[in-house]
């Protein structure tokens, strides 16, 4: 009974936000309290489910839990597949989204219509991407996520946002075309879109058909790398992230991770036993592309004039680190990379949320906000929403949060950013574990280490500079007023970073076994195609 229950809650991370989002459309825009409560309850449930799924995935490993939608057998219809990789990404994104939603209740939900519905659809799309086992269904969930993100990006309106939005939508529509071309090539070549079925068929196909499939994978790769923001496909990133409203920026910090997930999943599933050299080529592309992204990112960090630009370029820098680490293609490093993704996602989301309160009394940000408030004519009912008392000594609290974010992003001890980078470097010297003799890394690893350290240094300079400019200003010009519902989500996100720093050992044990599992595609293939192993009966 309980097993059946655990098996069936797997679809809820997709279905629950979809239903909630649709329901919220029927509630009038004026009853914001009700809307935010519903959205928070629904997302809270999804967080709970994601936490249960983490244990569920661990329990079933190395098998994956497979959910046949409509009870059709695996290769013929769409399946949802849950393994530890999807469970980790699922939990990470819903936790971040939950914090962003708390933040929105402060006053951001009045900048535009339907924020809560859109965020729910966005969440449904993201969770669907993590759970689906079918390439075309992946496309559909990607589009659900993107359609919501187009509208979210323009939340609050204003010329800067609409201009960034027009570019963002254009880039993503072209990327979606690439995605479709890729999916069509793969279907035309192999006759299936089920990931597991495709992985098992690839080895059996004749050579010319394999070539068509590989062209398809190339198209898919371009689509995902656009979404991740790898150089030279990354020029939309800084403009988009710095134009987005603060909670939307936090939500957007998840979208890039969706790309990482899909690249990890598909490259390990489809190319791990590859003999045609495509896998090696992909690793080279990821490594050098990642390295250049990292360089572009930290140069941008150094050149940034304000915090929004700084955070947007930090996204690029961390993307570069993750891609380059993926390009080195090593199971131990993959686990550490996922740990780094966790740490950087929480830290960047906290940073995005922190920027607006910090810069609130600086002229530019305040003006933009005032203008957007005016556009929506929100002035008349402003009074009743001054709920939440103003925290005394807010400057101190904001300063502390800023310092913690800086420590995390730079990768200074003792927090998780440092642990991740330290493990990456030791992992390259001691690939067999610290008990064995060390080896001298090859050229690529040296390059990676050098730029990893340089990037941290650049981040240190930039963060110190803006910290001094913002917090060591005289008090009469700098008196930020912050509502408690804006501080809580930032604190919660930083607490997640504390937690994964303190509990680094159990987290890494989980991730290590996850990496070992996804490097054996047979686990996944057998779970999906192997019959009724985990039907929970």
């Amino acid at each position: 009974m309980i097993a059946v229950f655990l098996h069936h809650i797997m679809v809820l991370p997709v279905i629950l936000p979809l239903i909630t989002g649709a329901l919220l459309l029927f509630i009038r825009e004026h009853s914001r309290r009700l809307k935010s409560a519903l959205a928070l309850v629904s997302t809270g449930f999804v967080v709970l489910i994601a936490a249960i799924l983490i244990y569920r995935a661990q329990e079933l490993a190395p098998q994956a839990d497979v959910y046949n939608l409509g009870n059709w057998a695996a290769p013929f219809a769409i399946v949802f597949v849950l393994d530890r990789l999807s469970a980790v990404f699922l939990l990470m994104s819903v936790l971040t989204a939950f914090c962003a939603l708390i933040y929105v209740t402060a006053h951001w939900d009045r900048l535009g219509a339907h924020f809560y519905s859109l965020s729910q659809f966005f969440l449904a799309g993201i969770n669907g991407v993590f759970l689906t086992g079918d390439i075309f269904n992946l496309f559909v969930f990607f589009e659900v996520m993107l359609a919501a993100s187009y509208a979210l990006l323009m939340h609050g309106s204003g010329l800067a946002r609409v201009r960034a939005g027009a570019h963002y939508v254009t880039v993503n529509l072209v990327a979606s075309s690439c995605f479709l071309l890729g999916a069509a090539c793969i279907y035309g070549g192999s006759g299936t879109l089920n990931m597991a079925d495709l992985a098992s068929r690839l080895a059996l196909l004749p050579e010319d058909t394999v070539l068509i499939c590989q062209i398809g994978m190339g198209f898919l790769g371009i689509a995902f790398l656009i979404k991740v923001g790898m150089w030279p496909l990354c020029f939309w990133v800084p403009a988009t992230y710095s134009a987005a409203a603060a909670p939307v920026g936090a939500l957007f910090s998840i979208t890039g991770k969706v790309g990482f997930y899909v690249i990890l999943r598909l490259s390990l599933l489809l190319l791990e036993n590859d003999t045609t050299g495509l896998h090696a080529a992909l690793c080279q592309i990821l490594f050098y592309g990642g390295l250049i992204t990292l360089i572009v990112g930290f140069t941008g960090v150094l050149a940034s004039q304000n915090l929004s630009r700084l955070s947007a370029n930090s996204v690029l820098a961390s993307t570069g680190i993750v891609l380059a680490a993926m390009g080195l293609d090593h199971p131990a490093l993959t686990a550490i990379t996922v740990y780094y993704i966790l740490s950087s996602t929480f830290a960047l989301a906290a940073f995005f949320l922190l920027i607006e309160p910090v810069e609130r009394n600086q002229d530019i940000a305040a003006n933009v906000l005032a203008v957007t408030m005016e556009v929506y004519g929100e002035d008349e009912e402003e009074e009743e929403d001054e709920i939440g008392f103003y925290i005394p000594a807010t400057a101190a609290i904001l300063g502390a949060c800023f310092t913690l974010c800086a420590i995390l992003l730079i990768g200074m001890p003792p927090l998780s950013g440092f642990i991740a980078k330290f493990m990456m470097i030791t992992g390259l010297f001691w690939p067999q574990g610290p008990a064995r003799a060390y080896i001298l890394p090859d050229i690529q690893s040296w390059l990676f280490i050098i730029f990893l350290v340089l990037a941290g240094f650049a981040q240190l300079i930039a963060m110190t500079r803006s910290g001094i400019r913002l917090f060591w200003a005289s008090l009469d010009t700098y008196m930020p007023k912050v509502q408690i519902s804006e501080i809580i989500p930032i604190a919660v996100l930083l607490t997640f970073c504390f937690t994964i720093s303190l509990a680094a050992e159990p987290v890494m044990r989980y991730l290590d076994s996850m990496a070992a599992e996804i490097y054996v595609p047979a686990n996944y293939i057998h779970s999906v195609l192997g019959g009724a192993i985990n039907k929970g009966e």
Binding site: A166, T170, S177, A184
Partner: protein
């Protein structure tokens, strides 16, 4: 037939790409539409082409699947058309908003000097 279809897809894609790289928003949206036509036709073509054959099943006889094209890409293309149509409509609204806010139909929201 193959050469007609493939050159049609090619022309659509090429004109679409060229228009996407143009500076006016109207050209960009036309380009995106043409590109999506090319992609949709391409998906349709992955179901293989069949000439001089009835498009419907003959229920009187035993059915030979090899005599028909693959129906899956046709259902895929339907989904792709719907999604593409919706996102293009959304994009049109965004471009109108950009035109309204900036007073220019340049993709950067301001006229080049």
């Amino acid at each position: 037939m193959e050469i007609v279809l493939s050159s049609g897809i090619g022309i659509f894609a090429a004109s679409g790409l060229w228009l996407i790289l143009r500076p006016r928003t109207f050209q960009v949206i036309m380009g995106l539409s043409l590109l999506s036509y090319a992609v949709n036709l391409f998906i349709f073509a992955t179901g293989r082409l069949k000439l001089d054959a009835a498009p419907i099943l003959d229920t009187g006889k035993a059915i030979d699947p090899a005599a028909y094209t693959d129906p899956v890409p046709q259902s895929l293309v339907l989904t792709a058309i719907v999604i593409g149509f919706a996102t293009t409509a959304l994009f049109l609204v965004i471009l109108l908003a950009l035109r309204g806010l900036s007073g220019s139909d340049h993709v950067n929201g301001r006229e080049p000097y």
